[in-house]
């Protein structure tokens, strides 16, 4: 499944061979996109839907995917899909509710509690801010790379990072105090 295809190898394909190009893009990027979607979304099902929708958009409009910047296009599409879903379904409220339910039931494993706490706190961030902190802190990308992937300026990335850290610290502290 994961053929040793690189983006540069995909670029060598003729534009007419849309299907092959799309297959190459999928093989190269789907796991990474799925991990990002897991960090940006509320659960695994939603992450899978987001990744599939991002690739479907590439399939429906192959001309919209720029040569040489496919990864950035896919990441941006995924973040935009997260943002749309965030606005439409009120994911923020759902994540908060999910956290409260888990706290009420009490999870036996500390790791699971932390994971739920982090997911909930991330879910309360605005989608773009969430994407910035996830790409930087969890994917380990440099500020410049995050800016390139999201199509925004480095200053904006730093500003989002600062705001996201402050907001996450507050949310996690509140959660810790609530648990005591």
């Amino acid at each position: 499944m994961n053929a040793p295809l690189t983006t540069s190898a995909i670029l060598g394909l003729s534009p007419q061979r849309t299907t092959e190009r799309l297959a190459g893009l999928f093989d190269v990027h789907h796991q990474r996109l799925f991990r990002l979607a897991l960090r940006l979304s509320a659960d695994r099902e939603e992450a899978r839907d987001l990744v599939q929708e991002a690739f479907l958009r590439a399939a429906r409009r192959p001309g919209a995917v720029p040569d040489g910047a496919e990864e950035a296009w896919l990441v941006r599409t995924l973040v935009n899909l997260c943002r749309d879903r965030y606005r439409r379904l009120g994911v923020r409220a759902r994540a908060h509710e999910s956290l409260r339910r888990n706290e009420e039931t009490g999870h036996p494993e500390e790791a699971a509690v932390i994971r739920t706490t982090v997911r909930s706190a991330l879910g309360r961030l605005a989608p773009r801010r969430r994407a910035v902190i996830v790409l930087h802190e969890l994917d380990g990308l440099a500020v410049r790379e995050v800016a390139r992937l999201l199509g925004i300026g480095e200053v904006t990335v730093r500003w989002h990072l600062m705001a996201a850290r402050r907001e996450l610290a507050r949310l996690l502290s509140e959660t810790k105090e609530d648990r005591r």
Binding site: M1, R39, L56, A59, V118, L138, L168, A169, S173
Partner: protein, 165 residues
């Protein structure tokens, strides 16, 4: 909470940490769905074009049917006489001797004094269509009446052997 501590918490609670990644079955199904979306799109275009053509035709028919008709002059309401018409003025008779019976009737239909009728009543007939309205025979004079193209009534009074008017 400093940045390093926050980073540690985030990494410990990374949502993609617990066996993150698509399973091979999930990836295969998603790949198939994505790749089949391209030809499906082409197939979907056919009904889209058909629907667009039908809609355009319907709009055209609707426009032709509902097109506003050119403005017509309002039909005047029928004139109903409410007062009795005044009696027609007496027809001027030429001071001549009475004509024969047929000529006399013709005389009554065309008054002598009607010199300048409206232009739109110009007859499409030949120049002199009623050449000889009446020809009176008398001992001393004869009268010839006819209409000019403009509707002018011309009366010739011929006197035998003498001057004519």
């Amino acid at each position: 909470m400093n940045d390093e501590r926050l980073r540690q918490i985030l990494r410990r609670g990374d949502p993609a940490g617990e066996g993150g990644g698509l399973t091979p079955d999930e990836a295969r199904a998603m790949r198939r769905a994505v790749l089949t979306a391209v030809p499906e799109r082409k197939r979907r275009l056919l009904p889209v074009f058909a629907l667009a053509g039908a809609a355009a035709t319907a709009v055209l028919i609707a426009v032709l049917l509902l097109r506003p008709e050119p403005a017509r002059a309002p039909i005047p309401p029928p004139r109903i006489a409410t007062a009795p018409a005044p009696p027609a003025p007496p027809i001027a008779q030429a001071p001549v001797q009475p004509a024969p019976q047929t000529a006399q009737k013709e005389e009554e239909r065309r008054p002598v004094h009607r010199r300048h009728p409206p232009r739109h009543h110009r007859p499409a007939a030949p120049a002199i269509h009623d050449a000889l309205a009446s020809l009176e025979t008398a001992d001393t004079e004869r009268q010839v009446q006819f209409s000019a193209p403009g509707g002018t009534r011309i009366i010739w009074i011929l006197k035998s052997g003498k001057d004519s008017r």
